[in-house]
């Protein structure tokens, strides 16, 4: 990774305040860092350090109280709700700790869902979803429901779903938090291979083994960046 590489995202003096039962909570107190294209970052920190808040902001699920978040040159802080939704649908792949698959839909339908909101469903959609299911090793489970799959398989469906829009920017919120070590290894291999394709990945974790697989680790504490180290 070199300094001249283009930036996937640029975070400057990002602040986020919440009002919780009349009291203002400063979740982020000015966070700045750059994310070069193709980087693989892990964010760590104790609970309450602001890592989930940061990830929500990076995932365009929320807007900062102050500061700027440039995603591919556009300031997310200035977007309205519809633009945020569109950014989520088209440019960001999101993987959750609890998979967040819809129980009523099959594997293929779950994978397909972001396209539904990106408005890009066409004749080739199903083929593409099947291809992604194959990529994550679930080619033989296309019409299963999430409840018929193991946790690792569900997470792989979720990864396939996050890939369906071919995002350059992927976020993962403790993607291995609910998995055993074998499945954790599988998921991390999958993420590593996606990073190797050139996708930028930022994941939140509190496991050092997971962080060790990434190229760079940012540690947060009390809404500040404590350390930002590249391996």
């Amino acid at each position: 990774m070199t300094a001249v590489a283009t930036l996937a995202a640029s975070i400057r003096e990002l602040r986020k305040d919440y009002v919780l039962s009349g009291e203002t909570v400063h979740a982020l107190r000015g966070v700045s860092f750059d994310v070069p294209e193709g980087d693989y970052i892990s964010i760590m920190g104790p609970s309450g350090s602001g890592k989930s808040t940061l990830l929500n902001l990076l995932g365009c699920l929320d807007r900062p109280t102050a500061g700027s978040f440039l995603l591919g040159g556009e300031d997310v802080a200035k977007m309205n709700d519809d633009q945020l939704s569109e950014t989520r649908a088209k440019r960001i792949g999101f993987v959750f700790q609890s998979y967040n698959l819809l129980p009523a839909l099959t594997v293929v339908e779950n994978i397909e869902m972001p396209l539904y909101y990106g408005g890009r469903i066409d004749a080739g959609t199903r083929d593409r979803c099947v291809e992604l299911a194959n990529l994550v090793g679930l080619g033989n489970r296309l019409d299963h429901r999430p409840s018929q799959l193991s946790g690792g398989q569900q997470q792989r469906v979720a990864i396939a779903r996050s890939l369906v829009n071919d995002p350059r920017f992927m976020l993962a919120d403790e993607p291995t938090g609910n998995l055993d070590s074998v499945m954790t290894a599988e998921i991390l291999d999958l993420l590593a291979s996606l990073n190797a394709e050139g996708r930028t990945i930022i994941l939140v974790t509190h496991e050092n083994e997971v962080a060790a697989r990434t190229a760079r680790t940012i540690v947060l504490r009390d809404g500040h960046i404590l350390t930002d180290e590249r391996r």
Binding site: L61, D82, S85, L102, A104, Y117, G118
Partner: protein, 436 residues
């Protein structure tokens, strides 16, 4: 696949996840819509029946009928409409197209040893047209019969069948009092006319014998002697009724006033009554409109209740599916997408309920006839105490009730679906994702 189609498919899929809940919600709308159609149909059926009864008397007609005053007022003098009244009306009221003098008396008709009690009606040839009697055999009375005071008669269907059970009555003779009458025609049987209030009583045209009124006057006179045990009653009247047909429907009401004046001038007793079917028709129409409005209101209330059912279920659904909403939002659904999804579900529920309700509404006639048949079979005594209208009403489908009911069901779906849908869309995606 278009966007709308996908939204529709998605909403149907979500609704099928809770089939019982969806079915119960649909039931609410179904009852409302079917109720609108049923109530309107039954209201229309009752209204039509009343109008037909009245129209059966002729919308262009004015019926002037003799009413017997109390006994001490009459004494031995005659009462009621006179032949002079008839002549004066014809001569002085230019808007009259036809006027028919009618005299009705009870008589025993005989053919050899066969006897039959019935009504002997003295009338003119126009009587057949105005009361809508059609010949089954032969002819009705003619002007010639009237002028010649012929002893010709026309039999009503039942009279003919009872006096001449075998063979053709035409050309045969029947005996009334001491006079022979030659049968020249038989009328088809006709539905009895109902009494509609005023001085017009129900008439059953099946046991009649029609003879020229001139013949009746010369052969039978104006005096009727009624002998009952302990009672000897004389009844002197010239005419029972004058039926007037006016040239144009618009002229009926002005003509009524003239007719009233003309007759009142020569009557000191209140021995006649004027009935105007058109007036009754207009009253009936107003009543019917009120009735339908009232029924419509009841149905509207049931639709609102159905709508609240939709809202209730949709709000529960929104709470229950908060996490799903969060996931969809996180994956790029706009607020609009969420609103559309939930609104589509509400509309699908109400439209399905509406369509089923229309089917249920179309079954109104067969089902109500079936139920009535059963009830008549099982509880004949109780049913007999019900008003005639209830026992005989035939629901009439009102054509505009179907689009109306459908439109209402859609409006209900949208109205009661909007709030839950907006609530769903207002959920914060992060909060919604955390929801268990």
């Amino acid at each position: 696949m278009s966007r709308g189609w996908r939204t529709l498919k998605l909403s149907i899929k979500s609704l099928l996840l809770h089939p019982l809940r969806s079915a119960l919600t649909v039931l609410g709308i179904f009852i409302g819509v079917a109720g609108v159609i049923w109530l309107l149909s039954i209201g229309e059926g009752i209204g039509r029946a009343a109008e037909e009864q009245i129209a059966g008397l002729g919308a262009r007609n004015i019926i002037v009928r003799t009413i017997k005053p109390s006994a001490d007022e009459v004494q031995d003098a005659g009462y009621g409409l006179t032949r002079d009244d008839y002549i004066r009306l014809l001569a002085t009221v230019p808007t009259i197209d036809k006027a028919i003098p009618i005299r009705e008396v009870s008589r025993e008709f005989r053919n050899g040893t066969r006897k039959f009690e019935g009504r002997c009606v003295g009338c003119t040839p126009d009587y057949a047209e105005v009361t809508r009697l059609e010949p089954r055999q032969g002819r009705f009375l003619t002007d010639g019969d009237l002028i010649n005071q012929s002893n010709y008669c026309v039999l009503a269907a039942e009279t003919a069948d009872r006096l001449f059970p075998f063979g053709d009555p035409i050309g045969q003779k029947i005996m009334v009092d001491d006079h022979f009458f030659v049968v020249v025609g038989v009328t088809k049987s006709r539905a009895p006319s109902a009494g509609i209030g005023g001085s017009v009583a129900a008439e059953d045209f099946s046991r009649d014998v029609y003879i020229p009124i001139t013949t009746m006057e010369t052969r039978m006179g104006d005096m009727e002697v009624v002998m009952k045990p302990g009672q000897f009653q004389r009844d002197l009247k010239e005419l029972s009724q004058i039926t007037i047909q006016v040239k144009d429907r618009d002229l009926v009401l002005p003509t009524v006033d003239v007719v009233r004046d003309t007759i009142a001038r020569n009557h000191t007793l209140a021995d006649y009554g004027v009935t105007v079917p058109l007036e009754l028709l207009q009253q009936a129409q107003t009543t019917r409109l009120m009735f339908m409005l009232f029924l419509g209101l009841i149905a509207a209330v049931s639709l609102v209740v159905g709508g609240i059912g939709i809202m209730n279920i949709m709000l529960a659904t929104v709470t229950e599916r908060t996490r799903e909403i969060g996931i969809r939002r996180a994956l790029g659904a706009k607020r609009r997408d969420i609103t559309q999804q939930f609104l589509a579900e509400a509309v699908v529920l109400s439209v399905v309920g509406g369509l089923l309700g229309i089917v249920g509404g179309l079954l109104c006639r067969p089902i109500s006839i079936l139920i009535r048949g059963r009830l008549l079979e099982w509880f004949p005594e109780q049913m007999a105490t019900l008003p005639e209208v209830v026992r005989t009403v035939e629901p009439m489908m009102v054509s505009w009730s179907i689009p109306l009911a459908f439109a209402i069901s859609v409006i209900v779906g949208v109205t009661f679906g909007v709030y839950p849908a907006i609530r769903a869309a207002q959920l914060d995606p992060i909060e919604a994702l955390r929801h268990e």
